[in-house]
Subunit: 334 residues, 2 copies
């Protein structure tokens, strides 16, 4: 019998399709890894090619001048940005009916290592910490821009996850609008809070830690779990245990702990599933809601092991062919 | 300058990324077509293999007994259904916090031709009409099931669209819940109606026909257009001109006209883009809202030419690297 499960944070339904279900190890990629060199002459993210990117907005280097070699993390504006810092915030109308505005925003690239073929899950802890500190530092800088309403930090790894760039990188986008589905997520969380006086994410963590079966890792500051209503096989969330609406409020100390947990989680996915394509996204409150009691930032990892099709598009209900209880156990085991 | 465009029917934003934009003919697939035979011995949808599927719920055949050869359209329950007709509609709770229920619903497959390698856009008009009549007939039958709240009819074509089955088919799913993002779509439409006293889809059609640049085909009963806030390159909608909330209200006569327009649209995508992977979905009201003034059924074709990545997942904002005005013109030209 298939199950319909409801995500308590969004009220969205997911089908766990038991008739089609696969064992966790069925998702392991069988193709051999593609050989990638450690340096590529024409890669704009490789050291020595700093002139191929727009001028950096942040870099961690021991010495040397900006936009030259010697960095270990480098942040630059995206050369082909999805959004642009210029333009007007005024709504415009086409024929009085259709609404549009200039694509105002910030779009930056975080180059996570000077080594071209460095995979994020295989990066040294110290280096992952530095990448996370760069996320934090750029978040705090962009937050001061009064035109930016929401900051989204994400990483795409592998062709199936929508990237063709090999050199390890992540992206930071600041938008001048709050997207309607973020509003909906906030509204659901606020409704829960109004009803029960507690944050729905805090409650979820408590329930999951009690139930144990969907926990991947339980550390001092962060919980790694596969949610009750996982939309895809191996969907994995990392949630801070203490209530915090915005990633912008994380301390330097906790950000280092977050790095360690993120790396360990990605490493488990990497080794158990043989380097799957994945996206990760930090879900955080809009800037003006950073102090809210009802929202709770977290990072979602979405491995791209299956392809959503017409049913998902038409209904918004994902069909998941695996049980999070089983995939979490598979990741828990060493 | 990138543009942020808002879908008037959902209030969702889309980025039209002009800096990354591609010309319409850049999306043409370059791989040669895969050779597929007209009959495959082990295909459960090929004639003579009727015993390999569950017993048919509908078939169009001149003579002969059910579940034997001689049909031109055949509808069967999905052998590996995402939802099942059995089970209880009661909400259950896991640990008092997580809500779930039995995966109650109907999941059928519409086998669109007895010929294994028949592509939908290359099918004769008469045969496409028969497929659409089967959609209609099954919709009307499922509507009478009091447990079914919403009926979703869709087709997945090609691996990138989430199917590996070659034999042309589409699917019908009846769900026992109204998904939260369908509720949101209805709420947005209702809000527009309350505000202006008109259906937002009716208004869109009127504006688009006036503006002309995003129209692909304009026929007596149906408009084919690429929406103002197209989420992906070549997103294409077919909308009935007359207000009608549910596909279940279509007449036999109009269903034949709809078939002709659908086939012509898919044929243009097929020939101009060299057989792209695509999903199509009929968006229709929940069964209890079939008479509403504010919702308007339509078919959405989503070609799978690009891969949504972390930003789309984190924000719900799609980045489209093409202008619907340009892709619509490309499809309009012969």
């Amino acid at each position: 019998m298939p199950q319909l499960r409801q995500d308590p944070t969004t009220k969205e339904w997911v089908i766990i399709a038991s008739e089609r279900s696969k064992r966790p190890d069925n998702f392991k990629k069988t193709e051999p890894p593609i050989e990638i060199p450690a340096y590529k002459e024409d890669c704009p993210f490789c050291p020595g090619n700093e002139h191929l990117t727009p001028s950096e907005t942040l870099a961690y280097r021991r010495s040397g001048s900006p936009n030259s070699k010697g960095w270990w993390v480098r942040v630059v504006p995206n050369k082909f940005p999805a959004l642009s810092p210029e333009g007007s915030l005024e709504r415009k109308e086409e024929k009085g009916f259709f609404r549009m505005m200039d694509g105002v925003g910030i779009h930056e690239v975080v180059i996570g290592s000077p080594i071209h073929n460095q995979l994020f899950p295989l990066t040294e802890d110290k280096q992952v910490e530095e990448v996370l500190l760069a996320y934090r530092e750029r978040y705090l800088a962009l937050r001061d821009n009064p035109r930016i309403k929401l900051i989204i930090i994400f990483k795409n790894h592998g062709q199936a996850a929508g990237t063709s760039l090999e050199h390890t990188h992540s992206q930071i986008v600041g938008t001048a609008v709050v997207p309607s589905n973020i509003r909906k997520k906030l509204q659901e969380a606020a409704r829960y809070y109004d009803d029960r006086g507690r944050c729905v994410y805090c409650e979820s963590i408590q329930e999951e830690l009690h139930f144990k079966k969907r926990i991947v890792l339980d550390t001092e500051k962060f919980v790694v779990l596969q949610p009750f209503a996982s939309r895809v096989p191996f969907e994995t969330w990392i949630i801070p245990k203490e209530h915090q609406a915005s990633f912008g409020l994380i301390s330097v100390e906790d950000s280092k702990k977050f790095a360690k947990v993120l790396k360990e989680t990605l490493f488990r996915l990497y080794s158990k599933l043989n380097d799957p394509a994945y996206n990760f996204v930090i879900h955080t409150s809009p800037i003006k809601d950073e102090q809210e009691d009802y929202y709770h930032w977290h990072l979602q990892i979405i491995p791209r092991l299956t392809t959503p099709a017409g049913f998902e598009m038409g209904s918004g209900i994902f069909i998941n062919v695996s049980f999070p209880e089983e995939t979490a156990q598979f990741l828990r085991e060493n």
